[in-house]
Symmetry: C2
Subunit: 196 residues, 2 copies
DNA sequence: GAGTTGACATACGGGACGTATGTGAACATT
DNA sequence: AATGTTCACATACGTCCCGTATGTCAACTC
């Protein structure tokens, strides 16, 4: 058992490249990240990258999909403890705001991602975060607790509000103080969707 | 009166460069816009651009400031006809959503702008759109019609929701059909800030 | 055991950005 | 009014980086 299967080897190089790309994109931004550098960091060359991901944007897409998936998982976990469907939606939104305080997430998912890959709803990763919010809203709609709004639009509005607000919190001089206020404001805002 | 003053000449070249940059950035995106090409389009060379704007990002900042100012002006105009302070806020939000359907605005202000220049609240243009929303919210707060939320955070949430929703509308297969639903959803959402 | 496939490395060309240097017209100075 | 200076802009150069085309070596097939 000295080696591994062909497919396993390839998965390993893909993982190494994604990891190196994630670090480089987070630290330098997509535009200033050199593929020569990040592939060398992974102990490889650009050849491996082009073979596995097609081009620089392809690597970013893979990185975004990974980070996006992690975000959705954490949001789901945050919502899992809620007693109530509505509380779950609020918890998810709050979780997104807090998650987006991470510079890595801001740079990769909120700034470079949309600019390079286009609108998030068109991403190959199918935007797991958005799907999570949509799911929560549909559950509420079935319970009859929502105003008669378009679910898809509502999900986009909530997600956009949360993630954008996080950029504001992170850019502020005192994030720790502003975060709770922002989360409260988000909860107040979200209640606009509640049936009266 | 054959010529113009020195300062007037410089303003003219700045205007020509901004105009050419605006077109190039809108059509090709920031990354794929060639400074050789866009300066030639303006009948100039890269020398003029570096002299006036420092670098490529400097030109983008100037373009963003111009577009952002135009957006705020239109939003203010849309709100001017409202009978009521709250109706004005709703009208502004709706105006942002509709404005953001313009591909030029999407590309420059919503996608490349944040990615290249960083968080909008830190822009030199001071984000006229955001300022407009903040103004409307403060007026409402003085009238006592707002829940006790942080104004700054609320402005960011509303703006983020509106602009992000516009990306969704524009990316949809049938924007004309989805736009009114999205605007309605936005109005419902915004009511979350209204005092009960 | 020879041929083929495929994952990855190396070599090459083109393009774009930023800087350093040049230039000619307007303004100041005497 | 003539000369020196400034400055807005053009030109020339070096450098970096992406994408492709080509090469290579191990693994699998027959």
């Amino acid at each position: 058992m000295s080696g591994k299967s062909r497919a396993a080897m390839m998965e390993e190089t893909r993982a190494k490249l994604i990891s190196a790309g994630r670090k480089a994109f987070a630290e330098k931004g997509f535009a200033d990240a050199s593929m020569d550098d990040l592939t060398a960091d992974a102990g490889l060359t650009r050849g491996a990258l082009y073979h596995n991901f097609g081009d620089k944007k392809g690597l970013l897409a893979a990185v975004v999909a990974q980070v996006d998936g992690e975000m959705a998982a954490k949001a789901r976990q945050a919502a899992s403890g809620a007693e109530d469907t509505w509380a779950a939606l609020e918890a998810e939104g709050a979780a997104y705001i807090e998650l987006a305080l991470d510079p890595e997430i801001q740079r990769i998912v909120l700034l470079d991602g949309p600019a390079v890959l286009g609108d998030p709803s068109a991403w190959p990763s199918q935007n797991a975060c958005l799907a999570e919010t949509r799911r929560a809203l549909m559950a509420l709609a079935e319970e009859g607790r929502l105003k008669p709004v378009d679910i898809e639009a509502a999900a986009r509005l909530l997600n956009g509000a949360a993630l954008n607000a996080a950029l504001y919190v992170a850019a502020s001089t005192d994030p720790k103080k502003i975060l709770p206020r922002t989360v409260e404001a988000f909860k107040a805002l979200a209640r606009g969707f509640l049936a009266t």
